[in-house]
């Protein structure tokens, strides 16, 4: 820790930070476009100019490292004037089409204009017309008029992805961002480019013109789609009567966790959750017919004692696994308990892990075997937990007159084979602790409120438990 | 002619007259208030596309009242609740029997008095009857089983009890002046002249009594500025729980009372049917019987006796209407008194003044 002075007030900050980061840490805002926490400083936008004692000129705070005894002024007269001058120039060619810009509401340019600018456009010049909807990739759209050339996107592909796919072409005011020969970006992380853009230059197609950002509410959770457990934000419409016809999951944004995912997530995490949402099931089905809970309890009581195999989903939280094991393994004394999850997929060295399930580590820790190690034939089976992709290896093992129970929030593809399907809350509707591939535990809270009749996995286990005890 | 039949006819005619007057009194109230407040007033009710400034409005109102749901709240004294408006209306309307509408007319050989009955204690009778109407109000307020209604009723009672005193005391001066309590004779007395040229109208003989009387009487009718029993901005009043035609009856009573008040004021203070200097059947010095105007300066204008009767009846109506409009004017001019102000006015101002009036009157009578 070293001591620095910002605006004549003394603070002690960590070593190795830039002035911008240090100021942010102590709660002083310095406007910036190009600086990003996980990208190298570039000093391009010149918005973060501050006055530093001893320096002849104003210095960019994003590139100046803190030193012992540094004295910084972020709101001095010179700084405010310089900031306004720079902001003026940023707006000189900007189309200011906020009404149709999806970034409006979370746009740095807009924010800083409100905060530091607020002048009429002083330049009597014609604004340049440029390409407004260039497809940068399958999910990104580039608007060159709005671009302020902070180069965050270029630097992201260069520094984080390592495969430089975006470049600056031309020079001076003619410069523009493009891919090589205008080809589309192919990357598993392209969604981040839209998120990282401080203005509305690069926007996400899935969010394009859908809803204004200020109607959205951020809810924090983790991404369940691989074992890394990236922190994400789910954005959902705020309760307003005229927003009724929107889905509850509008978009996924990356959370900020320097130890796990910095502030980036892969495209799978960004777009797949919305797909999964659509396969949600809310009906209890017994032999292809709807049933009510009174009936279900009878059926459960009848069949639960005859179970011989339990398959636990690796989408269950730690607490649910603990309770399931205590009910099935300790109380019912069932030996055949296996875990199951989505099939392994590709892996890279940025974020994506091979294991596509959030909580396999904990199951292995609890000595639950993999589903591949089933050797005997199964007669009565209970599948427990999120289950939206079929696993072929189990089908061969299932005997003729077996009873298959399934407790899952999703409708499986071969519903015909399942005798009893109970709906439960899905990942986003429940909270819990999750253990990622490196053994790091993370806690989530429910993102959405489940429908009233839907029970959590925990409640269903409690019902089973109480049924058994009554007997 | 059969006396009973005659009375019956008189009652029917009077009742019809009263009802029509009352109906149009509602319209008059709305119109007068509108005109005072630079508005138009009710003018929308139409029959065959003719609205004619709202002359059909009272019928529309009446129809509306009749066809509205007559809701009787639970926990009320059903009988009393239904009966109360009728009591008020009955006693209010009954006052009319003693009012003389004109000089007795001669049809054929019969001399018909233009009043139902002509008792010799008429003056006392009318005040006795009008005081009876308070029973309906307090019963209505009480039987509604609502504290606000009851409060309204109680207020009405206390108000009437207070002002009855001033009212009667102010009358005493008149009684001292007038030769009889018989209303026809009172009117006749008022048609005589004082010092040969001033008609002996009550207002001229007893101006202070008139002021006290009119204030007290307005308080008796429970209309603004003395509408504390109703107080629509505070407690809504004794008829809070009433709806439909029962409420209509209460509302009508309100107007009937006002009409009665204008009739009484006309009779007692404005010479009733009397037109100054117009005489019928006056025996002149030469012995002939003369009908027509005899002005103080000696000029004579002969009019047939039938026309005299008609003029007198019309004069009475006009006087009544003028007084009625004046009462409306009062009602739309002043704000409501506070209860303590009401009591103060009644007990501290009006009653002493009335007593003072009696004393002065007695002294003057003694001197003259």
């Amino acid at each position: 820790m070293i001591k620095i002075k910002i605006n004549d007030k003394e603070y002690s900050v960590k070593e190795g930070l830039t002035v911008l980061q240090a100021a942010e840490e102590v709660g002083i805002e310095i406007p910036h476009f190009c600086a990003h926490e996980y990208l190298k400083p570039a000093g391009l936008c010149r918005m973060c100019l501050v006055e530093i004692k001893g320096a002849r000129k104003l210095q960019t705070s994003c590139t100046t490292p803190v030193k012992e005894g540094l004295e910084v002024w972020t709101e001095s007269e010179a700084v405010v004037k310089a900031r306004e001058e720079v902001l003026k120039l940023h707006f000189a060619n900007h189309p200011i089409d906020c009404p149709e810009c999806d970034q409006a509401g979370e746009c740095s340019l807009q924010e800083y204009y409100d905060k530091y600018g607020f002048y009429d456009n002083p330049y009597i010049i014609k604004k340049e017309k440029r390409e407004k909807d260039m497809e940068l990739s399958d999910n990104l759209i580039l608007d060159r008029e709005r671009c302020i050339l902070c180069l965050r996107c270029v630097r992201f592909t260069e520094e984080i992805l390592g495969d430089k796919q975006l470049f600056v072409y031309e020079r001076g005011n003619k410069s523009y961002i493009s891919t090589y020969k205008g080809e589309k970006i192919i990357s598993d992380y392209s969604g981040n480019i839209a998120e990282i853009c401080p203005v509305g230059a690069i926007t996400d197609k899935s969010f394009r013109f859908k809803i204004r950002s200020w109607f959205l509410e951020k809810r924090e959770t983790i991404c369940p789609l691989c074992s890394r457990g990236c922190n994400i934000y789910i954005e959902t419409p705020k309760d307003k009567p005229y927003l009724d016809n929107y889905e509850r999951l509008i978009r996924v944004k990356s959370g900020d966790n320097g130890e796990i995912n910095k502030s980036f997530i892969c495209d799978t995490g960004r777009y797949k959750l919305a797909e999964i949402e659509k396969r949600r099931n809310y009906k209890a089905i017994y032999e292809m017919q709807n049933v009510n809970w009174v009936r279900i309890k009878k059926i459960l009581l009848e069949h639960i004692v005859t179970l011989d195999t339990i398959i636990l989903s690796s989408w269950l939280s730690n607490e649910e696994i603990d309770l399931a094991l205590s009910v099935f393994r300790d109380y019912l004394n069932i030996k055949n308990i296996f875990y199951w999850g989505r099939k392994d997929g590709e892996e890279d060295n940025i974020l994506i892990r091979k294991d596509k399930n959030p909580n396999t580590t904990y199951l292995i820790e609890k000595k639950v075997k993999n589903i591949d190690s089933i050797d005997s034939r199964i007669s009565n089976l209970l599948v427990f937990g999120d289950f939206f992709e079929d696993n072929p290896s189990v089908k061969e093992m299932i005997g003729e007159n077996s009873f298959i129970m399934m407790i899952s929030p999703y409708l499986p593809r071969d519903i015909g084979k399942i005798n009893l399907l109970l709906p439960v809350t899905n990942f986003l509707e429940k909270g819990g602790n999750w253990t990622n591939y490196e053994g790091r535990g993370q806690t989530t809270k429910p993102v959405f409120n489940p429908k009233e009749e839907i029970k959590t996995e925990f409640e269903i286990l409690q019902i089973i438990d109480s049924l058994l005890r009554k007997e | 002619m059969n006396y009973t039949l005659l009375v019956l006819i008189k009652i029917i005619v009077l009742f019809a007259w009263l009802m029509i007057f009352a109906l149009y009194a509602t319209l008059a109230e709305r119109k007068v208030s509108a005109v005072i407040q630079d508005r138009h007033g009710a003018n929308r009710a139409k029959i065959l596309g003719i609205s004619s400034f709202g002359i059909f409005q009272p019928f529309a109102d009446a129809l509306k009242m009749l066809f509205k749901e007559d809701y009787i709240p639970p926990f009320t004294d059903k009988f009393m609740f239904k009966f109360a408006p009728v009591i008020t209306f009955f006693f209010s309307a009954l006052v009319i029997i003693a009012i003389p509408f004109g000089e007795p007319v001669k049809i054929g050989k019969e001399i018909i008095k233009l009043q139902v009955i002509d008792p010799d204690i008429a003056l006392l009778l009318i005040f006795a009857l009008s005081s009876m109407s308070i029973y309906g109000i307090i019963l209505g307020g009480w039987s509604s089983n609502n504290k606000y209604s009851f409060l309204g009723g109680m207020r009405a009672t206390s108000q009437i009890v207070s002002y009855e005193v001033a009212l009667i005391l102010s009358i005493i001066g008149l009684i001292m002046v007038y030769p009889s309590l018989r209303l026809s004779e009172i009117v006749n007395y008022q048609s005589t002249l004082l010092w040969g040229w001033i008609p002996k109208w009550g207002i001229l003989l007893q101006p202070l009594a008139f002021i006290i009387f009119i204030i007290a009487a307005i308080a008796e009718t429970k209309r603004a500025p003395f509408d504390l029993p109703e107080s629509e901005s505070e407690i809504i009043g004794f008829f809070l729980e009433y709806s439909g035609i029962r409420f209509g009856v209460y509302m009508l009573t309100d107007f009937v009372e006002t009409i009665m008040l204008s009739l009484i004021i006309t009779t007692l203070f404005f010479g009733g049917w009397n037109i100054p200097y117009l005489f019928s059947g006056l025996k002149l010095s030469n012995g002939t019987i003369f009908s027509g105007f005899v002005f103080p300066w000696g000029k004579q204008l002969a009019i047939s006796i039938n026309w005299v009767s008609i003029l007198q009846i019309i004069a009475f109506q006009i006087k009544t209407v003028i007084v009625f409009v004046f009462l409306l004017l009062v009602r739309w001019t002043f704000p409501r008194l506070r209860f303590d102000q009401l009591m103060e006015l009644g007990w501290k101002s009006l009653i002493p003044l009335a007593l003072f009036n009696i004393v002065v009157t007695a002294i003057i009578i003694a001197i003259v």
Partner: protein, 155 residues
């Protein structure tokens, strides 16, 4: 003494109202019965359906949508009106048409509208205005009071 003053003030009041009564009654009579037009009418009210008041140019009346020369609505669906509306009575839906954002649905629930005019003031494209001059829109159903402003024909 106080009461005495009161007495004269009450007389004064009676004179004021009485003056109104008589003067207005006179003008009512000559205006409405004898049909003589005078400058003074004896009333400040207007008889609404028959005679209509002149609406000032900035008076806020029924909303209308502005259209471009090509016939597309000016509204780009920025939803600022939705945001600013205190009565929550505006519903907008925008879609991409030929690369541009254009409103495809613009509904105002007039029976919930407070006619505050914020939507007009906030509109960056000058797409919505409240200067149609229409004040009398009544209906016996909620449905008819949901104005679809993108509907161009007469309703």
């Amino acid at each position: 003494m106080k009461g005495f003053l009161y007495f004269f003030e009450t007389i004064k009041g009676l004179l004021v109202t009485g003056k109104h009564l008589i003067v207005n009654f006179f003008f009512h009579t000559i205006n409405y019965i004898f049909r003589i037009k005078t400058k003074r009418r004896g009333s400040v009210t207007t008889q609404y359906p028959e005679e209509k008041r002149e609406i000032p140019p900035r008076y806020r009346t029924k909303h209308r949508m502005m259209f471009n020369e090509e016939g597309t609505p000016r509204c780009v669906g920025c939803m600022l009106c939705v945001t600013v509306c205190p009565s929550d009575c505006i519903f907008v839906k925008a879609e991409e048409i030929e690369g541009k954002k254009i409103a495809t649905e613009f509904i105002i629930h007039v029976n919930r509208c407070a006619f505050c005019g914020y939507c007009v003031e906030v509109c960056p494209e000058d797409a919505i205005r409240m200067d149609s001059g229409k004040l009398d829109f009544v209906s016996d159903s909620q449905k008819n009071l949901s104005l679809n402003l993108l509907f161009k024909g007469k309703k």
